[in-house]
C-alpha cells in the first residue's frame, strides 16, 4: 500500500491494560475498514508502517500498554479516519471497566 505525498498524521498513547490485544485490534481494524483512505499504523516514526486494516498485522505489532500509536492516512476521508481512530483509543476501545 502506498501513501500519497501529503498524508494526514496523528498519534495517541495506548492506555489499554493489555496493550493492543485481540479485541482492541479487531475493533481498531474494523473501524479503519469503514474508511476509504489508506491508513497505516506504527509504534515508532521510523516504522515499520503497517496496514491498519489488517488485524493479523496489527496484532503482530504486539504493542504494549503505554506505547505511542502513530497513524498516517491518505485519501478523501483521511482526516476523519485519523480522528475516529484516535478517539477509539482514547475511549479505551469502549471496554474500560475491569476488562483486560
Amino acid at each position: 500500500m502506498g501513501i500519497a505525498e501529503t498524508p494526514v498524521q496523528g498519534s495517541v498513547v495506548l492506555a489499554h491494560e493489555a496493550g493492543l490485544h485481540a479485541r482492541p485490534s479487531v475493533k481498531l481494524t474494523k473501524l479503519a475498514k469503514t474508511f476509504a483512505a489508506s491508513i497505516e499504523i506504527a509504534v515508532t516514526t521510523d516504522g515499520p508502517w503497517i496496514d491498519a486494516k489488517s488485524v493479523a498485522k496489527v496484532m503482530a505489532m504486539k504493542a504494549p500498554r503505554n506505547s505511542e500509536l502513530l497513524f498516517r492516512a491518505a485519501g478523501a476521508d483521511a482526516a476523519a479516519a485519523i480522528a475516529a481512530l484516535i478517539d477509539l483509543v482514547n475511549r479505551d476501545f469502549d471496554e474500560a471497566q475491569a476488562d483486560a
Binding site: A22, V26, S54, V55, A56, A98, A100
Partner: protein, 535 residues
Amino acid sequence: MPEIWHAGRVASGGIAIGTAFLLPGAPAEQTVSARKTDNPAAEAAALRSALAAAIDDIGALISATAGEAADVLEFQVAMLEDDSLGEPAFAAIADGAAADLAWTAALDAQIADYSASDDDYFKARTADLADMRDRVLRHLRGEAVVSVPAGAILLGDDLTPSLFLSQDWSQGGGIALSKGSASSHVAMLARMRRVPMVVGLSMDISSVATGTPIIVDAEVGRIAISPDAVTRKDSETRRAQVEAELIQAEAFRLKPGRTADGSDIRVLINIAGLADLEQLDPAICDGIGLVRTEFLFPQNGHLPDEEEQFGIYRRMVQWAQGRPVTIRTLDAGGDKPIAGLTIAESNPFLGLRGLRLSLARPDVFKIQLRALCRAAVHGNLKIMLPMVSVPRELEASRQLLEEAISELHLAGIPHARPLLGIMVEVPSTALMPERFAAAFYSIGSNDLTQYTLAAARDLDSVAGLGDASDPAVLKLIANTAAYGWQAGLEVSLCGDAAAETRLVPLLLQAGLRVLSVAPAAVGRVKAAVASIRLA
C-alpha cells in the same frame, strides 16, 4: 468394569456426572501432502474455500454465544478474513506447495512468533491460532468436524477454545484432560461458564471408551471412571450442595469478609500469573496473598529476565490498586521441577527446593529480587520466601535483597524496599516463629501438613493421612497465629485449607484473620466466614 479414580488439578470447580466423549487429537502432522499439487490455481482455490468454510463454522458458533466467548470467536473470524494471514501460504502455493502444508507452515510461523512474546496476553493467542490452523486444515483434508453430544464429559489430551464454545453446556457436562492448563483460554471460559474441569490427569485417556460413565470431581481435582452406585449417589448429593453454595457465594463475593459476630476477616487471592487476573474485579478481595512465581518460569530452561519479571509484577500491583500484593520468590523443586534449574533427587520434598534452591542459585535469585524492588515503586508489594527452615536462610536472603537495592540505587533505577516475610510450611518455623525476624508470616497448609504428618502430597497411598484439620497441624497454625498476635505481625494462610469451607471455622478458631484463596473460592469463603461466631 470396576470404579477407577484418577487424580489431576482443578481448572474450574464443580462436579459433573455424565458419559465420556473421547476428543480427537489435533490433525495428524504430515510432512508429505496427500494432495495433488500440480495445479497451483486449484490449490489456492481449495485453501480459499476451506477458509470460507471455517469462517462459516465460526459464524454459526457466534450466533449461539454471547459476551466474552463471542469476542474470542469474532477475533478468529477477523483473522481468517484478513488476507494478510494467508498471504505466505498463497505465496508458497504459487511456488508449487500443497495447500495443507502451505497453510500449516504459515500459521506455525505466526504461532512461533506469538509464543516468543514476553507478554502473557500475546502468548495466549497461540492457542487461538492453533485452533484456526486446525479448523482450516480439517476442511482442506475433508475431515469431519467434531460433533459432541450435549451434556457429555469431554475427555482428551487438550481442548481447543472453538470446540469448547461449540458445545452446548446448558445440558451440563464437564472436561477432563491429561494435559491442559488452569491458565489456558479454555480454563478461563470454563470458569466463566461454570463447567467443571480437571487438567493434568496422569492417565492414558485413549484407554477410556466413548460412552463410559464418568464423574468429574473438580472440587477435589479427580475423576472417577465407571463409578459404582454409591459413588454416583454421593456425587449427586455433593453436586447439589456445591450448586447451592455457589448461589450463596455469588451473593457474598463483593461483600467484606465478616463473621456473624462482626470480626473482620481479610480474604485475599492466590494467583499463578496475569491470566488469573483477567476479567477479575479487584474489589472482590483485600489484595493478592500469594503469587506463585514458579509458573512464570517456563519448562524449556529459559528463565525470564529482569525486565520481563518487572513488567509482570508491575502489572499485578497496578491491578491491585493499592491493595497489598505478596509475591513469593521462586518455589521450584519438590513436585515442581524446572529444567535447567532444579536437580533430580531421591526425595525431592526434603531436598533442594524453594528458598534453598534460590540461595544455591544467587544469580537467578538476585534477578528476581531486583525485579521485585523495581515493581514495588508501583504499589504495595511484599516479598515472601518459601520453604524457610532456619533463621539464617531469611538473613541470607535479606543480605541479597540489600545488595539488589544498592545495585539499583547506584544504577539510578527507581526502586523501593519491600517488606520481607516468610512462608510457614516447615514445622520448625511454625514451632518457633519468634526465631525469625520476618515482617509477616504466611502459612502454607499443604506443605505444613505433609511435613507434620510425614505424608507426601503426591502419594495416593498415604493421602488419607495428609489432613490439614489434624489437631497437630491446627496446633502449629495456632502457635504461629498467637505469636503474630503478640508481636503485632500479620499471619495469613494461603494453602488449599483456606478454601475448604469445612476448615474455615477451625482456622479462625486457631486465631487466623487473613485467608488467601483461589479467586473462584472468594465468595464461598466469605459466605462460610459470615456464618461463624467467634465469641
